[in-house]
Amino acid sequence: MSEFFQYVVVGLANGGVYATLALALVLIHRATGIVNFAQGEMGMFCTFIAWSLITHHGLPYWPAFFLTLLIAFAGGAATYKVVIQPLSRTGELTVVMATIALLIILNGLAGWIWSPEVKFLRSPSPFAPGDHFEVGGVIVNKQDLTVIVISLICVALVFLFFRFTRLGLQMRASAVGPATSRLLGIRVAMMLSIGWGLAAVLSAVSGMLAASQLELDPNFMLIVLTYAFAAAVLGGIDSPIGSVVGAFIIGIGISLLSGYASSFLGTELQLPLALAVLMLVLIVRPAGLFGQVVVRRV
């Protein structure tokens, strides 16, 4: 039994990484109606910026962390203004293709600037890699715990922002009713641009947390994107809460799968099997676990 909880604890840390990126995907989907395939690469690129700030410019971890978030926000907002908004009139598929183009560009650019060889970003945790404590026979790694806490703080901040601030309310309004919002004097284009900025911030957090657990190279976020995308769809692509819950389900699910089934599945089949299970869930619940039907009366 303690083995089971051991896998759950490990899965939670991965879930946190997926949750921040999945939430970013949901924000964009709600605001722009598309899946931003470049979301993971935005996080990857920002993580390289953080690495560079720490390694080449001698910044301590936390100043580099927050400076990176600022840069991410500006970059995300600018991406909307320069690429997405001008293309949005030509149709959904064009915008999706543009995000794929961005994915390709950012991936190549990171390799160009920082070279494709593997780098390491330290963990945000003040604890050493091996530090841990035990609860009922379950070993909790303190670095993993830090990752979980940071991702939960980010998710909570995003929820509070949208729920309780005026700007958050205006952003939600712009996403669900852009035409009405403009009649009310809300600057919808600016709201969407801020939304893209926020999503970029979330993906930067996801990237920096993931890099502390994985190796940092231009492709390291692709697998995170796959799971985050799966999490967002599992939760219901327009449901922020659903995406976070979905992310933790997937994180734990993967961890259990690799823990119990790796002997006969091999490492290769983890991803296919996880995705196959996900597809089965979606066939039963096509709108995802938290996909809601809005009540409308005319």
Binding site: H29, V35, V83, P86, L87, T90, G91, L93, T94, V96, M97, A98, I100, A101, L102, L103, I104, I105, L106, N107, G108, L109, G111, W112, S115, P116, P218, L222, T226, F229, A230, V233, I237, L265, G266, E268, L269, L271, P272, L275, A276, L278, M279, L282, I283, P286
Partner: protein, 341 residues
């Protein structure tokens, strides 16, 4: 039919007839390496004509077309290497088998739309290579399978020339089939499902039937393309079919112009040559890491295409045509007014 309409069809037929002519003469006119690349253009062409049936004509996005190609390629490799089936006979088998797989895959995908379908197909693209890696005894695992490179049965042709002719003959055939299918009742049903699913249902079109059928057809095309790919490179392994191949195919279809079969020709050329143009661009910069730079340039070229011709190449040509028509009309009306004055 108006004389103008007949005229247009005539032009299209002429333009399309020019392609086989070019294909017959180009291989002889260029060097062998160019022929090799020409064969690849043909392979991509077949694949994205199929993708266009699914995405362009039926409105279902696929990020997993490369996975279908992988299935076709493995069919060829396994049949040929493990069971000694003649290499050319494996091509139709690969098409049929992959088509059947696509049809089956389309059944559950039916309930999914938009992002969900994107995820389902994307999952397929990430999973198929991993599955191939796992079942080593059957697929050769990460090592892959080596196929004997065929020599030309026609005397005086190099292998690459022969490959080029072979792919283009098959491409021509498959293009013709797609054209006929999409012109007819099936094509109308596909478009009805794409444009007005509710109206289509109420007029007796079965959504399920046509959506799965579109998946089946798209997969069959990819299967044939995959089989030809395996023959052309004489080798398959999981890394031949990365996720980026699926993305590349989708970009090709979009750049060519979704909903236009002829546009796929441009799309296939784009897939084959844009990365090397990009590489060419980056060579001038005197850096070592040409590949990462070419990736950047490929992305930038794609972005530029999206900005400058959102309807793809086919859309651009259509616009130019409209512009010409308007110009002609304007001239006529001026001539008329002068005549009356």
């Amino acid at each position: 039919m108006s004389p103008f309409g007949a005229n247009r069809i005539l032009w299209r037929v002429l333009a399309l007839a020019a392609v086989p002519l070019l294909v017959v003469f180009l291989p002889k006119a260029f060097n062998d390496y160019f022929n090799y690349r020409l064969a690849f253009v043909g392979i991509y062409f077949i694949a994205i004509v199929g993708l266009n049936v699914l995405t362009g004509y039926n409105g279902q996005i696929s990020l997993g077309h490369g996975a279908f190609m992988a299935i076709g390629a493995y069919t060829t490799a396994i049949l040929n290497v493990n069971y000694g089936v003649g290499i050319y006979w494996t091509i139709p088998v690969a098409g049929i088998l992959t088509g059947a797989f696509g049809f089956l895959f389309g059944l559950p995908a039916l309930r999914l739309s938009g992002v969900y379908l994107a995820l389902a197909t994307f999952s397929l693209a990430t999973s198929i290579p991993l599955v191939a890696k796992r079942f080593e005894g059957f697929t050769g695992g990460g090592q892959g399978k080596t196929i004997a490179l065929p020599s030309s049965p026609i005397g005086g042709l190099s292998t690459n020339e022969w490959l080029s002719y072979l792919t283009w003959a098959i491409a021509g055939l498959m293009f013709g089939v797609a054209w006929l299918v999409l012109r007819g009742q099936l094509g109308r049903a596909f478009r009805a499902v794409r444009d007005a699913p509710i109206a289509a249902v109420s007029s007796g079109v079965s959504l399920a039937r046509y959506k799965t059928l579109a998946f089946g057809i798209a997969a069959a095309y990819a299967g044939v393309a995959g089989a030809l790919l395996a023959i052309a490179i004489a080798f398959v392994n999981p890394d031949t079919f990365p996720v980026s191949l699926s993305i590349l195919l989708l970009t090709g279809a979009v750049v060519g112009g979704l909903g236009s079969l002829e546009g796929m020709l441009f799309g296939a050329v784009f897939i084959q040559f844009a990365p090397s143009w990009a590489e060419h661009l980056s060579e001038h910069l005197h850096y070592n890491e040409a590949t990462v730079q070419s990736t950047v340039f490929y992305g930038l070229i794609l972005l530029a295409v999206l900005f400058l011709m959102p309807g793809g190449a086919a859309g651009l040509i259509h616009q130019l045509g409209n512009g010409l028509k308007r110009l002609r009309k304007w001239r006529y009306s001026r001539a008329d007014s002068r005549a009356t004055a």
